[in-house]
Symmetry: C2
Subunit: 493 residues, 2 copies
């Protein structure tokens, strides 16, 4: 696209001034409408070194109230960030509803650099592109306005600008070694940029190539595209989004009603012996995954009072506290609710070699959020695929993802609720909400069945833990965790 | 303390078992009371390498529900963390009310290592100790239970344990180079540890030295001290805390009523000319502070409708967006409210070389929180000193701290409120709360006067911006920011 790309003709000075004034004024008005319509706007600036990304961002934000935007400069990933999935540090930066985030270079630069430095080839590149496409689509599907600008200058112009910057000690730091390398290898870079741009050009998140040879003209192109896109986004803000067909291999799951619960029990003695030997094994494995830098994500969903907490404790009992974290998931706080619903999970991912246990999870989207109407029908119907994609991201990164449904029947729940109510030490565990949820048992059962059918992928299948006898469920969980970790180690060999 | 320290006699096996059972059961009960009493518990484990810090933490947390605690392993600070004040990464980890955080080594280890590696000497060490003392006192004053354990073993025992760990490839990673260095230099280390422990031993956050020669015995000592301290903390949870006398040099401030507002105005022309030249100067300075890695913190407080937003915009208008951030401060979210009130500011500090602008600040504590009764009288009275200490921390780190009070009179406010109400584009800026606050003008004025008198320190003085003419206030703010940065650069020479 870049090589044969012809810029629009630059307007005359007078016309430029008029159009600039109009676009600036319009953006100033639109910021309030963005806020009102609760649209989050993510603006990505990519482009050549010294093309003036920072400068244009500086101009654009002059028209926006400082409370409504954030600028993030994405330098090379830190060591800590390299221990998370590629998208982690970008997902972390997505704006709240009604606000702007401007990114000074982002996932394009990181990707193209990896290609140019031969760190990312062939299949790995394809995987990366797929994951970027999914990321961008998930944002726009969930109401984000995503704008991607590529600031384009010629090699000659770049050489000239760098020279000027390097001559002054207060501006010399702006020219990195990477920038200088880029200038020398301009043609190679252009080829890689070109391929990346066409690989990630999509109707919902198209690329805008900006002729950045003149600063004013660059500002005008950015502003006009920004204003126009916001206007389109506002008209579309209530639209429904296509629900994608599942493309991931699924594992067949039974209906909950068909899960045999009776007979799934252990004697105290069997339990004690098994627990001890399984925990010892898991403790060993924890050391190995730490050393081999394999991340493990264990998620728990289940009926109230099914015994999630006690089950988790039998897992963590075997783990070195420096290598795992339990994340209890309650209703989202305001700053979480204002973002993509997966944001609070992305930001809680473990480092490689660590274990993260989620006590309730992203599946709230298709259970409580669905049934209580906290999101639209279009939202939760889309979510099955979005969550499969999320878990694909995790397993591609190398994570072992283990999803438990802790299962009991309705009578068992009643008995446990009553026990809790009558035991002063356990009363904190039972709330009015638990009783209200119980009344909706049948609706939940339907939703859960649908969830299990649609999100049990081969790379991240669901496991049902029969938990009428909690001991049985705990031993089963431990066995599955051990088996899955052993398998991952086997495959890594 | 360590050299001449005599451990308590280790109990016989049977008695040990009994006491362990009792302490474990008691901790299990206490976790719920901690939650009920909303006490945050921070447990710091320091000590010799291979003394078994991780192991004891692992034992202790077995008695606590995974939803109520977090374990944080504090490795050496990352490059990013080194660009923040020393305490930043510890303050970030403090627990929420009703929860535990266990730190696997912390500010003691970082400090003693700096001493042993000759990175921290004499005055710098004294400064560090002072800052640690203030940090610990601020936590306990604000209702935190802070427990500090030092896990003690002999050189011989340490040598033996390291040998065992190093022999197995799955445990060898646990022995760092630092640990091995420590073992060889045991006596030097003991001297430095000793001094640190006595320097930071205080009644509200005393050190507990744990005889860690035997694992069970170590666990018992920790558990018993933990349980006992929690019980004491619960009895004290409603107590008032001594209000410390100010020890920082203060700058005399006028009463608001005596601030002359008339005549503080600029013509449009004067304004335009000055604005242009001052912004150009600030733009230059921004490059210099970036290069010299000086952090700048600019805070705005002021009457509603005094013109804070527009004032901030004139500052940011001169700044490179990659080097600053504006933090609008609204009421705290639940996870923020559940922590020390300065937590949300600590976690928003800029990196060195960057500028952070706070639109409303920590001074909410002695204004809205005081007047609306969101904190106790003891709390806000203590806060003046706590905030002086906080800003001392920032300036000791090297930050330029500039605090603005944007000032107007009551009539001007009424006029601006009415303007906003009548202008559809500005209506979002005015809320019922603004009108309610206006009714409390006199109470606020009293609180603000007290705040200005008590927190205008020589290192972080308040500046009053007369803002009946907003242009005047903007130019004054720019001049002060420039002057303060120039002064800091001069001093750094």
């Amino acid at each position: 696209m870049l090589k044969q790309w012809k810029p629009e003709e630059k307007p005359e000075n007078e016309q430029m001034k008029e159009r600039l004034d109009a676009a600036r004024a319009r953006l100033y008005e639109l910021q309030m409408q963005i806020k009102e319509h609760k649209i989050p706007v993510l603006v990505l600036f990519e482009g050549w070194g010294a093309a003036g990304k920072g400068g244009v961002i500086g101009k654009v934000i002059k028209n926006i109230d400082p409370r409504f935007f954030k600028v993030a400069t994405m330098a090379a990933p830190t060591e800590e960030e390299l221990r998370k999935p590629f998208l982690y540090r970008y997902f972390r930066e997505i704006p709240e509803q009604g606000k702007f985030t401007f990114l000074d270079s982002g996932w394009m630069q990181e990707t193209t650099r990896d290609v140019l430095k031969h760190r990312l080839k062939d299949d790995a590149y394809e995987l990366r592109i797929e994951s970027i496409r999914r990321f961008e689509r998930q944002l726009t599907d969930n109401g984000y306005l995503l704008l991607k600008f590529f600031m384009h200058i010629s090699q000659k112009e770049q050489t000239k600008r760098m020279k000027v910057l390097l001559e002054n000690e207060d501006t010399a730091w702006r020219v990195s070694e990477e920038d200088q390398w880029e200038n020398v290898h301009y043609k190679d870079c252009r080829k890689v940029f070109d391929k990346y741009i066409s690989d990630t050009n999509s109707p919902s998140a198209p690329w805008y190539i900006i002729d950045a040879g003149s600063r004013k003209w660059a500002e005008l192109q950015v502003l006009e595209n920004l204003v126009q896109s916001i206007e389109v986004a506002m008209q579309n803000s209530a639209r429904s989004v296509p629900i994608l067909q599942n493309v991931f291999p699924l594992v067949k799951m039974p209906k909950l009603a068909d899960v045999e619960l009776t007979g799934k029990a252990l004697s105290d003695e069997e339990y004690k012996t098994e627990l001890k030997s399984l925990q010892a094994r898991l403790e060993e494995l924890h050391n190995v995954i730490y050393r081999k830098k394999i991340p493990v994500i264990i998620t728990y969903e289940g009926w109230d009072a099914a015994g999630k907490g006690g089950n988790i404790k039998r897992i963590t009992g075997a783990l070195d506290p420096r290598g795992y974290e339990v994340h209890p998931i309650a209703s989202p706080e305001p700053h979480e609710k204002a973002r993509h619903y997966l944001w609070r999970f992305w930001t809680r991912l473990p480092k490689d070699g660590h274990i993260a246990i989620f006590d309730r999870t992203w599946y709230g989207r298709v259970m409580v959020e669905r049934l209580e109407g906290f999101c639209s029908e279009n939202d939760w119907k889309r979510a099955y695929n979005e969550m499969n994609e999320f878990e694909k991201e995790l397993t591609d990164w190398g994570a072992v993802v283990i999803k438990f449904w802790v299962h009991i029947d309705k009578d068992t729940q009643l008995q446990r609720f009553t026990d809790r109510q009558n035991n002063p030490e356990k009363q904190w565990k039972i709330t009015d909400e638990d009783w209200r949820n119980r009344e909706k048992w049948d609706a939940y059962e339907g939703a859960i069945n649908e969830m299990l059918q649609k999100t049990s992928t081969r790379y991240a299948p669901w496991y049902i833990l029969e938990s009428v006898d909690k001991k049985y469920a705990r031993i089963k969980a431990l066995k599955i965790v051990i088996e899955r970790i052993e398998k991952a180690l086997e495959e890594k060999k």
